[in-house]
């Protein structure tokens, strides 16, 4: 039957915004601590173009490729409405993350092309810090590609690899990227409803752990908890209380201000549609 469960995977595409944390320090601080999304929207493209030029000159510079990847993904997610433009930008993000991964791993590195069993075998060799970091950035950018190509069954099939990547990273360090890796896993585990064998309790555990790790400072986590878990299990009380807590919270948190402002915007939208949904 129509098991096209994940076509509208509705992954927290904004997650890649969190990776803005890997921008060069001064720029990073300016972007992440700027609560004015309009200013960031207007300013980021110039930096994207600068990075494009630098990548041409230094095509194997891992740091540059990764910064460019995360920034493209973040901009596409947060500010680009046109599907074609978004698809292009997340594709650039993926290509650069993939190039960075290959630069780090040297050996066969095209994870997309590997059969799943070979892919699993390959991951057993990924253990150094920089390898894990490159793997995580690749996985994050891959989420964006899947989201923007959710009508493509080849992309949907790749979800299995992305989930395995995130499980690998979380096994190494569950606090990775300020708990963001747990947020990915939380959302990924809500994609199948319980009636079809999904395990929302696993998702619940990931979301809860992510909130604990960040001590409630990352407002995107409760928003995604509400949007993906509470709606899945039809728990309106949890849904509304999570969103209200986000709306009531002070968004000003070092390194998360921009993202938190965005999370509050999402929370208001979701709360407004609560009555209709439930």
């Amino acid at each position: 039957m129509k098991f096209r469960l994940f076509l509208a995977i509705a992954l927290p595409i904004v997650l890649s915004a969190c990776s803005v944390a890997r921008l060069p320090e001064s720029f990073n601080t300016a972007v992440l601590n700027n609560p004015d999304m309009a200013t960031v929207e207007a300013g980021l493209p110039a930096y994207l173009l600068t990075l494009d030029g630098m990548v041409v000159n230094y095509p194997e510079n891992v740091s540059l490729l990764q910064t460019s990847s995360t920034l493209y993904g973040a901009y596409a997610t947060l500010f680009v409405a046109e599907p074609e433009r978004r698809r292009h930008m997340v594709s650039v993000a993926y290509q650069r993350a993939s190039a960075a991964y290959c630069a780090v791993m040297k050996s066969p590195c095209d994870l997309k092309e590997m059969r799943f069993d070979a892919f699993e075998q390959h991951l057993t060799k990924v253990d150094k810090d920089r390898e894990i970091n490159a793997l995580y950035i690749l996985g994050s950018s891959w989420v964006g590609v899947i989201q923007e190509n959710s009508n493509d069954w080849n992309a949907i099939a790749d979800l299995a690899k992305v989930q395995t990547i995130m499980e690998k990273v979380a096994a190494v360090d569950p606090t990775y990227d300020n708990g963001q890796v747990l947020l990915y896993l939380g959302v990924l585990n809500t994609l199948i409803p319980p009636s079809l064998g999904g395990k929302p309790e696993v998702a619940h555990a990931y979301f809860t752990q992510a909130m604990d790790v960040t001590e409630g400072r990352n407002l995107l986590i409760p928003v995604m908890f509400a949007r993906h878990y509470a709606r899945l299990v039809f728990d309106q009380a949890l849904h509304d209380s999570l969103l209200q807590s986000v709306i009531d919270a002070d968004p000003e948190t070092p390194g998360l201000w921009l993202q938190n402002v965005y999370a509050q915007k999402l929370a208001r939208e979701l709360l407004a549609s609560s009555v209709d949904y439930f």
Partner: protein
């Protein structure tokens, strides 16, 4: 004494009528999927065109329980309908299950040829059984996927073959093929493939990908195992409470949504099959002799299913007659 009571009752009826009807519909499909999006859009159109007299509320993701629980809730009036696999309507209209006969169809063209002739009979059968439906929505062909290559019925008997819990059709088909299946809930399938507790199953490509089962199997047998379909069904008693004018509007929009999804699912399954091959699954090809043997096995299985009362001999003969006609063209 009586008069005030009548007035009060009339007022209450008027009030209910003024409030309109909300059709509460459950489904296992999660929110955000094309099936929910399409029916929600249809519900918006119904709300608009009936000026709020008929609205729909969806309960996605199986929050109202499994299919059997949903049917019970419809019977007691807690729910009014479901988007549900036709296999679950075996008790409503037995011959509707003819579409699930093993290896009945070989191509989508054959499906179209038969459905054009028989869908209305199925819809009428459901209506006589108490359910207003709005056309069938294709679920696609289920294909055998396995850890070891499967070509013959004997190969199949050697597999640890999974079927879902509470699935009478799959159980009967397994029996008819002489298979002793391993019955598990959906949530246990991937892990069981990993541990080797099972090593084969039949599933539409979109499910094989969505549930990530493809990551634990190696082969796909190049022969559609069975055809699957679903339908949007509303308890006919509830549907009849809607005014005739509004029934037309509701039917028009739900029929249209079902037709859209019927076509969309066809495309999706074809693309998902290709994606499975791109993921490295090897197609188990069979020569003419092997295919003829497998199809002969499936015909014997169908005979047993008729003996079990899965569907009638008359309908089986009717449909296979159409298929013979189509294949002789």
């Amino acid at each position: 004494m009586i008069k005030p009571f009548l007035v009060a009752t009339a007022c209450a009826l008027f009030s209910m009528s003024a409030m309109g009807i909300t059709l509460k519909v459950s489904t296992a499909y999660p929110d955000g999927t094309s099936i929910l999006n399409t029916f929600r859009a249809a519900a918006d159109d119904i709300d608009r065109d009936t000026e709020g007299r008929v609205t729909m509320r969806f309960y996605p993701g199986g929050v109202m329980g499994d299919d059997q629980a949903v049917l019970r809730k419809v019977r007691i009036g807690q729910l009014h309908g479901a988007i549900i696999q036709t296999g679950l309507f075996a008790d409503v209209f037995r011959d509707g299950q003819i579409y699930n006969a093993p290896m009945l169809f070989r191509t989508f063209e054959e499906v179209d040829f038969v459905r054009e002739k028989f869908d209305q009979t199925v819809t009428d059968g459901y209506e006589q059984g108490g359910w207003k439906t709005f056309g069938l929505m294709e679920g696609g062909f289920a294909y055998l996927v396995s850890v070891n290559p499967v070509i013959t019925q004997d190969d199949l008997k050697l597999q640890k073959f999974w079927i879902p819990s509470n699935d009478a059709i799959s159980e009967n088909i397994s029996k008819a093929f002489g298979i002793s299946p391993i019955v598990l809930g959906y949530g246990e399938v991937k892990t069981s493939l990993e541990t080797g507790a099972i090593n084969a199953l039949a599933s539409p490509p979109i499910a094989t990908i969505s549930m990530q089962w493809f990551t634990k199997v190696r082969y796909i047998t190049d022969q559609p195992f069975l055809y699957t379909a679903a339908t949007m069904a509303i308890d006919n008693k509830v549907f009849q409470k809607i005014s005739p004018e509004d029934q037309v509007i509701v039917s028009q929009h739900l029929n249209s949504a079902s037709k859209t999804l019927d076509q969309l699912n066809r495309v999706d399954n074809i693309k998902a099959y290709e994606a499975l091959l791109n993921q490295g699954l090897e197609v188990v090809k069979m020569n003419d002799e092997e295919r003829a043997r497998l199809l002969s096995d499936s015909e014997r299985a169908s005979e047993k299913l008729i003996e079990m009362g899965q569907y009638s001999q008359e309908v089986y003969d009717l449909v296979t007659g159409w298929l013979t006609e189509y294949r002789s063209r």
